[in-house]
Symmetry: C2
Subunit: 207 residues, 2 copies
């Protein structure tokens, strides 16, 4: 937190209480994603965010106290959206390995739609290390929970380990970097299928 | 490259021609790892590097023209050192899956010994994007080459895909973040064994 943006209100930012307030806050967060994604934290500005959002500066300070605070809120928002995309693919009839394939495909699609996510999360390591760490720790915890559910149902090996979750998360993040951010020509389903076959069968020469 | 450090010499930095010169350049690179790792790029300084290295400022400018240039040289140096550690585990009698286990163990050990590597490589995304990209593209290319060798020898599936290499690299990077940087209590061999079992057999409930 190396930017001394003085917050006009020392109190913590308020949650919107009306639907219109929620929409304004949402617009500010979306505008922050564009502003931070394009300019990076240091060159981004609150006025740049409000201009993109089409809101008055006063609206910003209704919901956020500083550039640091909206950045942290944005990281939290992106974490939630990634979480929701993965949660959408969990279904009773889908086994654990197939669920991981669909979760990867959903993540690759989300990253293609929101290419700024990598720059924002990666910059959080420097701007807001706690949010950075929480982003990955909570994502790994969710993968671990999914895997343990699959193990309990006998769909995957019983000795599921936290390292399995971190390995899968790392696979997903780097496949996203390569196939969603740096280039997005290959079909999401194709990448998910290739990577998922490793989770299913390993690299062994079978069949 | 947003730091306007003026380079006293416009020419590109020179390679040392003597053993003593090589040692001085090595000391400067090691000092740069400590300086950038501890302070980050923006707060790091050339005088901080030369103080850590115990060299005169003039020695710095014998080998580097700017803070940007020694940062890029440092990223390149770290890439080379990671590459060499992985290359050390390749042996004729070791099959492709075991090689990946030993390469992961070597990387986890290297990251424990050089905990600054994550911050430096991650900051390269912002300070020197081309070096960041080259770091990962060349690491993935080397993994792919190892895998293709294993496939040719029939040790692993024949249809090795670039996505396999990126998946393995991502696994390794995030296992390092979790088990070498954020905490290093668990034995490297244990993590490498757990992760490698996935490459061998997948997550399927086999024995």
């Amino acid at each position: 937190m190396d930017t001394p943006h003085a917050a006009p209100r020392p109190s913590t930012a308020r949650k919107p209480r009306t639907e219109r307030g929620r929409q304004t806050r949402r617009r500010l967060i979306d505008a922050a994603a564009a502003e931070f994604g394009e300019k990076g934290f240091h060159d981004a500005s609150i006025s740049g965010i409000t201009q993109r959002a089409g809101t008055a500066l006063g609206s910003f300070y209704t919901y956020f106290t500083s550039k640091d605070e909206i950045f942290s809120a944005l990281v939290h928002d992106l974490s939630e959206r990634v979480r929701n995309r993965a949660a959408d693919v969990v279904a009773p009839e889908r086994n654990a390995v197939d669920t991981e394939r669909e979760a990867l495909a959903a993540f690759l699609t989300f990253a293609r739609e929101h290419k700024e996510i990598y720059r924002i999360i990666d910059e959080a390591e420097f701007v807001d290390p706690q949010s950075y760490r929480t982003h990955y720790e909570s994502a790994a915890a969710r993968i671990l929970q999914r895997l343990r559910g699959g193990a309990e149902r006998g769909e995957i090996r019983p000795d599921i380990d936290e390292a399995h979750a971190w390995a899968i998360m790392g696979m997903n993040v780097f496949l996203g970097l390569r196939y969603s951010i740096w280039s997005d020509e290959r079909a999401v389903e194709d990448i998910a299928r290739v990577a998922n076959a490793v989770l299913r069968d390993g690299l062994a020469p079978k069949d």
